[in-house]
Each structure stands twice: as C-alpha cells, then as structure tokens.
C-alpha cells in the first residue's frame, strides 16, 4: 500500500496556515532559521525581561553564610574527612 499523501498534505497545509496566521499576528515574528528568541522576537524579549527581573532580586544572606560555613569547615584542620 502506498502512503496516503493526501491526508498528510492536508495536515501539513493546515499547520502552515496556522503558522503563517501566527506569524502575521505577531509583529516581531521571525523565521525559524534566524534566532527565534533573539531581541527581535517578542517572546525572546519578554523572556529576558522576566529573567533579568529574577536575577536582579536581592539575594538572601543565607547563601553567603552557607558558603563561609562550608569553607570554614574545610580549612582549619584538614585532618578529619568524612
């Protein structure tokens, strides 16, 4: 039996229609080939904004003290090891 190209082609066409619809709707839409999350992409821009926001949050002191503790545990006498 040959494969049914008709059905696949229809599905494909449907997908393409949807994609081009999406692309047309998004002003910042870019081709798959270029950087899809680059500064020209709306999603890419929002993603960076979201993440920069998180990265710039104040860091709780517990992390600095944790690292100091870890360091102190190791440095004074190296005789004992787990």
């Amino acid at each position: 039996m040959p494969i049914q190209p008709g059905r696949d082609a229809a599905k494909e066409a449907n997908n393409m229609k949807y994609q081009s619809f999406e692309k047309g709707r998004k002003a910042g839409g870019v081709d798959e080939g270029s950087d899809p999350l680059g500064p020209n992409s709306e999603i890419g821009r929002k993603l960076k904004q979201y993440y920069d926001d998180l990265v710039s949050e104040d860091i709780p002191d517990r992390f600095a003290s944790l690292l100091s503790q870890l360091e102190q545990k190791e440095e004074p006498q190296n005789t004992e090891k787990e």
């Binding site: 999350l37 709306e42 999603i43 929002k46 993440y51 998180l54 990265v55 944790l66 690292l67």
Partner: protein
Amino acid sequence: MSNTPNFREALLAAVPVLRAFALSLSKNADRADDLVQETLVKAWDKQSSFQPGTNLKAWLFTILRNEFYSQMRKRKREVEDTDGSITASLSIHPSQDGSSDLNDFRKALARLPEDQREAIILIGANGFSYEEAAEICGCAVGTIKSRVSRARTRLQEILSIEGEGEFGPDPIAAQVTSAAGVA
C-alpha cells in the same frame, strides 16, 4: 591545598542566576532557595570534579537541575494537587512592578510543561548554546531544539489568548476560560 577562596567567590557570584533558574523551574520561592542551597552544598562537595576552565555555570545548572528532578520524583508520590500548586505559585510575585505584561508572561511560562520551560529558559534567558543545554539536560540537541520551539509556540498561543481577556472579570476566571480555550 585547595583553591577554595576562588571557588567560594565563584559560587557566590553564581547565586543570582542559580536562583533565577531555580525559581523558573520550581515556581515556588521557598523551594527555589532550598534548591539553590542544596546545589551549593553539592557543588562544594564535588568541587574536585569540576574542571577549571570549563563552564562553571553549566556545571552548576546541571547539579541544580538534577536536584530539582530528584526532589520532584520524591514529591510526586505525596502531591497530587498539581492545579493547586500551580495556583499557589502564581502568587509568589505579586505584581512587583505593576507590569501586567510581565505578570501575564510569568503565568504563561508557569503553564508550560517542565521540559519545555527549562529548555526555553536555558536557551532564551541564559544564553546557553543548544549543545550546552543538551548537556545540562542530558538529552539530544535536537530534543532541546524541538522543546524550545514548542515552548515558544505555546507561549505565543497562551499570551495572545489571554491578551483578549485583559479587561475580563477577574484573573482566575480569565485563566480558566483561556485554559479551556487552549485545550
């Protein structure tokens, strides 16, 4: 003699970005901080296995991610209310800057499947290469590419749909409506 001062400083410098990654994965501030803490302890213990000159950030992200998934597996047996946990997670950042645009994005991101969310965060927000992201996630480069692409498509869908409900009754109702619309 160990190179601990440098290592400690390098770890400390990585905390903000580790925390951002942890928050993106777990969507819960307390759990994210625990995740970062656990990552720092593990990284410290394993520091001899880190090869200087290689990408420390990628190494740390790998540890954090492994820790996240092992905690998830443990929790999965206990927690069944996934909807409840998602709802709770949406309130961690109560409109810090009043930007509803950014809040919409957070909510949309929270609705992505874990694998897609982490892929788009690694590539789009952290600037890892597809190869690095694949190594961090322990999967094929092609898998990362397709996850990123699906994540992007899904975010576009969610955001454009929720945009229509911008002046709707209330956020929860809009959330439910748009979730139904997407399904």
